[in-house]
């Protein structure tokens, strides 16, 4: 079995923030795309800024991104199947002999994919004094703590 790699693009909000979702509490928060993709400061896992629990960073992809990834994978599979059946049809229909076999097939339809785009929302931006990276969260002063998604300390 071969492995196929796909690239998906997400357009951040006006300040370059992209939405993520906690696998534990399902809360949404935003991270700065440049900081998230910074190869000079690699990281394997993220902390949820709301509940503070940690998990592998891929687990924090938002449901919208997961849906998009699944749709792209499904479309790739559809394309490959359609190609194979088309080839088979052409080969069978061209064959000459005593018994003629005619093949017809109805191509599978692809699902629609949409452009992923983050809108400007009302979250508050915080900067971690420990690692200097930023996060945008819904914050209620005096009623909640915010944790740094990268290093886990409270901000």
């Amino acid at each position: 079995m071969s492995t196929e790699k796909f690239t998906i693009s997400i357009q951040g909000d006006s300040e370059g923030y992209v939405t993520f979702e906690c696998p534990y509490c399902n809360s949404e928060f935003k991270l700065q795309a440049g900081e998230y993709q910074n190869d000079d400061e690699p990281f394997e896992e993220l902390f949820c800024p709301y509940c503070g629990l940690a998990k592998e960073k891929n687990e924090f992809l938002s449901s919208e991104v997961i849906e998009q990834v699944q749709a792209i994978a499904y479309n790739y599979m559809v394309e490959e199947l359609n190609k194979t059946f088309k080839k088979m049809q052409r080969s069978l229909n061209r064959s000459k002999g005593l018994i003629k076999i005619k093949m017809d097939y109805k191509p599978l339809k692809k699902v629609a994919t949409k452009e992923l785009k983050d809108k400007d929302t009302t979250e508050t931006e915080f900067k971690c004094s420990c690692c200097d990276r930023r996060v945008k969260v819904l914050y209620c002063a005096g009623a909640a703590k915010v944790f740094c998604p990268y290093c886990g300390v409270d901000i």
């Binding site: 534990y24 902390f47 509940c51 503070g52 629990l53 940690a54 998990k55 209620c140 005096g142 009623a143 909640a144 703590k145 944790f147 886990g152 300390v153 409270d154």
Partner: protein, 287 residues
């Protein structure tokens, strides 16, 4: 220094404790077949070994009579049913006792317990993670919330201590003056005498049904907080940590619905200053 939990933990220690607790909790919840038992043992050792966390748990479950076997259906011949009790203290006790049960019983481990339940997942690691999430996540959330609450109380205290706020003690009467650049000085005469706080609480509780335009649940929540403070102030030895936690809720209510309170309070002859005065007195009381 924190005034809560005997004042032995400062802000930095609390931050480190919170991070360490969240790290161990995450490890437990993400355990695999190979690591689940050791992660559970480490988690239990940590929460038992830390004075603040074990205090938080004991504070919640002391005097609670509940058998964890009811919650987790231990001993069932069929697939086990998870039926958490309605009462939160019973649920916390069930989880804590179940942790001890898995850790201490020789014939029991995380895998054997996870396999007692019927799961849609077929992969063993996914089953174990689902089980750990179901069985212990509410306890982790509870401890996590309490630690965050401690930090919020410390932050609020630090704010009150810093800046242009001055505390003046005159025998039993404390006066607090918040001076701003405009030259306006807000003063509150406060006292550590619990009777005046109890009078204020009675007055505010009576005004709650008159409040318009605020969700009934929010009013219920602040009523619970006020009653919690009232209950503690009436005891011989009020628990300051409980008052501190209720204070956070009252403060949030007073700040979120300040406009609604002003309208209603004018009609009900309770002024906005009454809320401010109670908050000030309570802060001084727990300090």
């Amino acid at each position: 220094m924190s005034v809560l939990w005997g004042g032995y933990m400062n802000r930095l220690e609390l931050r480190k404790l919170s991070l360490e607790f969240r790290r161990l909790s995450s490890n437990l919840l993400n355990s695999t077949d190979d690591t689940a038992d050791i992660n559970l043992s480490r988690f239990l050792k940590f929460i038992n070994g830390n004075e603040l966390i074990s205090g938080i748990i004991q504070d919640k479950i002391s005097g609670v009579d509940y058998d964890f076997k009811e919650c987790y259906d231990i001993g069932s011949d069929d697939w086990a049913d998870y039926t958490p009790p309605v009462d939160e203290a019973c649920h916390i006790k069930a989880q804590y006792d179940y942790l001890n049960f898995i850790n201490n019983e020789n014939t029991v481990n995380v895998r054997s317990q996870a396999m007692n339940y019927c799961w849609s997942d077929k992969k063993i690691n996914a089953i174990m993670q689902n089980f750990l999430d179901m069985a212990f996540k509410p306890l982790i959330d509870f401890i996590n919330d309490q630690l965050s609450m401690e930090m919020i109380v410390l932050d609020e205290e630090a704010k009150a201590m810093g800046g242009n706020t001055y505390i003046q003690n005159i025998e039993t009467v404390n006066g607090s003056a918040s001076q701003q650049n405009s030259g306006v000085i807000n003063t509150y005469n406060t006292t550590n005498d619990t009777s005046s706080m109890l009078e204020l609480i009675d007055k505010l509780l009576a005004s709650l049904p008159e409040i318009q335009g605020v969700d009934a649940e929010e009013i219920e929540n602040v009523k619970d907080d006020l009653e919690m403070v009232q209950e503690q102030l009436k005891t011989d030895n009020p628990k300051k940590n409980r008052i501190g936690k209720a204070l956070v809720g009252i403060k949030k209510f007073a700040s979120d619905f300040s406009k609604e309170l002003v309208v209603t309070l004018a009609v009900g002859a309770v002024t906005g200053a009454d809320w401010g005065m109670l908050l000030q007195q309570l802060e001084n009381f727990i300090r």
